[in-house]
């Protein structure tokens, strides 16, 4: 994949809820092997962008193109469950959505539903013991074990996911998303509610995913420490409009960004103090 064909291209994305314009003519790209962060003050429309990308909302205007194995997929035209299946976009949620009453391992096996369904002949053949379902299931367990090791949950694999601590549930959700073998992983505030040590581990994990698995990561985050440390590319939103787009250092010093975060008056105050 070349630079000319980014992994994800968002063009003129606009989302209106009645009279409210949540996203206004947003365009950006995300590359394979890069962490792209979307930041902005509360209510800037970050999660709405995610919901458009993953099919939970249908955008009012815009074209969302996802390149996977040389094939372009138009996300705005796909049904939500096919976006993960065909276009390879996986996501985590701002308020964690694991399957609490299923075991940790089962959470990761369910994530491989699509390939297991194929291997089991839509469960029908496997019901009568025909076909290679057992083998496929063993493979699925191997992949699950790989990610369990990465997120340090192997010892708790057989416990109910709901009994995990908050930080562990966040890690499980990332592992589950990775078990779908995505090309683009969208993380909605993965560091929210984590303590500094957990947040450091999370940075490690995200770098590992980027470098070892050669996929693109899209990140919504409020924790500027995390964002500045690991992002390769930052998109800043304010009131649904893009106000900056570039490398972390560029964005950090962009006056428009400082204004959006601190407000006009505060900026004047700071300026007055100088």
């Amino acid at each position: 994949m070349t630079r000319d064909q980014p992994l994800l291209t968002v063009k003129h994305l606009t989302m209106r809820f009645g009279g409210l314009v949540a996203i206004d003519d947003l365009s950006f790209t995300a590359q394979t092997g890069e962490i792209t962060a979307i930041i902005g003050p509360n209510g800037a429309g970050k999660t709405t962008v995610f919901n458009c990308l993953t099919g939970f909302y249908k955008p009012t205007v815009g074209r969302l193109t996802m390149m996977r194995d040389g094939t372009p997929w138009l996300l705005e035209q796909l049904e939500d469950y096919r976006i993960s299946r065909e276009a390879g976009v996986a996501r985590t949620f701002q308020n964690i959505r694991i399957f609490p009453q299923m075991s940790v391992l089962e959470n990761l096996i369910v994530a491989q539903h699509v390939s297991l369904m194929k291997a089991s002949g839509n469960s029908v053949l496997a019901l009568f013991g025909i076909g290679g379902y057992r083998k496929a299931e063993r493979k699925a367990v191997d992949l699950a074990r790989y990610w369990l090791d990465r997120v340090d949950l192997t010892d708790r694999a057989d416990e109910d996911a709901g009994s995990l601590s908050y930080g562990a549930q966040r890690r499980l959700e990332i592992a589950r998303a990775m078990c779908t073998r995505p090309s683009l992983l969208c993380l909605d505030e993965p560091a929210a509610g984590l303590n500094p040590r957990e947040s450091g581990d999370l940075n490690e994990l995200l770098r590992f995913v980027r470098d070892e698995h050669k996929i693109g990561l899209l990140l919504i985050e409020h924790d500027m420490g995390v964002v500045m440390e690991i992002s390769d590319h930052i998109v800043v939103l304010d009131y649904g409009r893009k106000i900056a787009d570039g490398l972390p250092d560029q964005v950090k010093n962009d006056p428009a960004v400082i204004r959006a975060y601190l407000g006009e008056d505060d900026l004047a105050e700071i300026g007055g103090g100088n």
Binding site: T54, G55, F56, D80, Y81, R82, S84, R85, A90, R91, F93, R97, I98, F99, P100, Q101, M102, S103, L105, E106, I109, V110, A111, H113, V114, L116, M117, S120, N122, S123, A126, L127, Y133, E137, V141, A144, R145, L148, T154, A157, D158, R176, A177, T180
Partner: protein
């Protein structure tokens, strides 16, 4: 509420008496108008009777019961156990004005003893294994299941079993099968279905109509009835795909009633309220259960050289429903380890997460509806062949409610729980039919008790379908 801790917390006697007294006072104010007065009819005249002894006994029972429960809660067990035994003994021996009151007194005493005993039992379990009751139960489960199956297999030949017991067993097994079928929809897929009886009805009518109009045998009709019911499951499924929880419950409730009303009014096909009679009975591989078989055919007892007994057919029906129920159970346990079953459970937990993982919610829901309905259809055709007569009256909302109650009280998704709940809700009330008018009262009280005592159902424990750390065989 505090649970019994390691050291029993101090509790003032005054507080106990105050709480028990307050409870007694509240119940007294309710009991005086409800139990205390009664209008009696004697020789056309109406008298106002008073029943103060009953009120007094009931209030005393409530006072002591409350007191003992507080003591149990605080880890003092000796007094409640002796007290419970004393209450039961008094109920047994003392001159008590009515039989009903006697039963109530005895059972109240026993419940207190059982409650205290349960606390002792779980505490011991915890002390012995470091874990709770659930873990001991999990270990014993495969043995328990095997023992139950063996017991079910030999039941008709046990010395104490007779026509009545086998009839009750057939009834219980029918509900066990319905419970297991509905369990797929409600317990696994988490779709609250209040109209399950519709599929039961579709199965029963499919069998009856196919058998009467086309003269198909039971063994051809059975799969067809299942297919029809499954097809109806899909028809119901489509409009309710977007609904969840309460809304889904209301629509399925409506669907259940619709099917019943159609059966009632489509007189040209279903004979309406008259029902369909003379539904053909099943045969044992072509051998019929008749004393005098039609010319040129042999009947079951002739073929095996047995004395004719009407019990043969009952025992055959018993095994038939046993096999059908076990097939439902086997299927459910197997599908849980397959992608479809796991997707059902994931859908129950979080539909949005499912979509984000590429699971097609439409197909997943429809398959749950269709398969749950199919087993309902099988059970329905069994019902038709057993009764020999069906009418829309058998498929009222109450049936749906009872089946759902079995699933919920048993513990959502628990197979063993369904058996237990079916025995408690169907078997016991049927066995003690002598209590007649108190039957529904006991039924309701039982539900309230179970739900307040174990709000997640009798056996609400769930086993993972796959384990990473041990190769131990899985069961549910």
């Amino acid at each position: 509420m505090t649970t019994a801790g390691a050291e029993a917390p101090k509790i003032a006697v005054k507080d106990i008496f105050r709480e028990a007294g307050l409870t007694a006072l509240v119940s007294l104010s309710l009991l005086i108008p409800v139990v205390g007065f009664r209008i009696a009819n004697r020789g056309g005249d109406q008298f106002l009777e008073t029943r103060w002894p009953e009120v007094a006994i009931a209030v005393a029972l409530i006072f002591f019961g409350r007191m003992f429960l507080i003591l149990i809660r605080n880890g003092r067990l000796a007094m409640p156990i002796t007290g419970g035994v004393v209450i039961a003994a008094i109920g047994w021996l003392a001159p008590i004005p009515s039989e009903f009151l006697r039963v109530v007194a005895i059972s109240a005493g026993l419940v207190i003893v059982a409650r205290a005993g349960f606390v002792v039992f779980t505490a011991q379990q915890k002390a012995a294994t470091g874990r709770g009751f659930a873990d001991g139960y999990r270990k014993a489960l495969p043995w328990l299941a095997a023992a139950l199956i063996v017991f079910a297999l030999v039941l008709p030949f046990l010395p104490f079993s007779g026509r009545r017991l086998i009839d009750i067993a057939i009834l219980v097994l029918t509900y066990v099968m319905l419970g297991w079928g509905l369990n797929i929809v409600v317990g696994l897929a988490g779709l609250l279905d209040l109209g399950y009886v519709a599929f039961y009805a579709v199965g029963a009518y499919s069998y009856a109509l196919l058998a009467t109009y086309f003269d198909f045998s039971f063994w051809i009709c059975l799969p067809l009835a299942g297919l029809f019911a499954g097809f109806f499951g899909i028809i119901l499924g489509f409009p309710v795909l977007r609904l969840r929880g309460d809304y889904l419950a209301i629509v399925t409730l409506g669907f259940g009633e619709m099917v019943r009303v159609i059966l009632l009014n489509w007189v040209s096909l279903t004979k309406g309220p008259d029902g369909i009679s003379g539904v053909s009975r099943p045969s044992f591989f072509g051998l019929e259960f008749k004393r005098y078989p039609p010319e040129g055919t042999e009947s079951f007892h002739q073929f095996f050289g047995l004395e004719y007994s009407s019990l043969h057919r009952v025992i055959f029906l018993y095994y038939l429903i046993l096999i059908l129920a076990l097939a439902t159970n086997f299927f459910t346990r197997r599908i849980r380890t397959l992608p479809t079953g796991r997707a059902w459970e994931a859908l129950r937990e979080d539909e949005i997460a499912c979509r984000s993982l590429g699971i097609n919610p439409r197909n997943t829901k429809l398959s749950a509806f269709a398969i749950g309905a199919m087993f309902g259809g099988f059970a329905g055709s069994f019902f038709a062949t057993r009764q020999g007569f069906i009418s829309p009256e058998s498929f009222t909302f109450l049936e749906s409610a009872i089946i759902l109650a079995i699933v919920v009280l048993g513990g959502m998704g628990s197979q063993m729980g369904v058996i237990l709940a079916a025995v408690v809700l169907i078997g016991i009330p049927e066995y003690v039919r002598d209590l007649q008018e108190y039957r529904m009262l006991a039924f309701g009280a039982g539900m309230v008790l179970i739900m307040s005592w174990r709000p997640r159902g009798l056996l609400s424990h769930r086993d993972p379908t796959i384990l990473l750390h041990s190769s131990r065989a899985k069961s549910s």
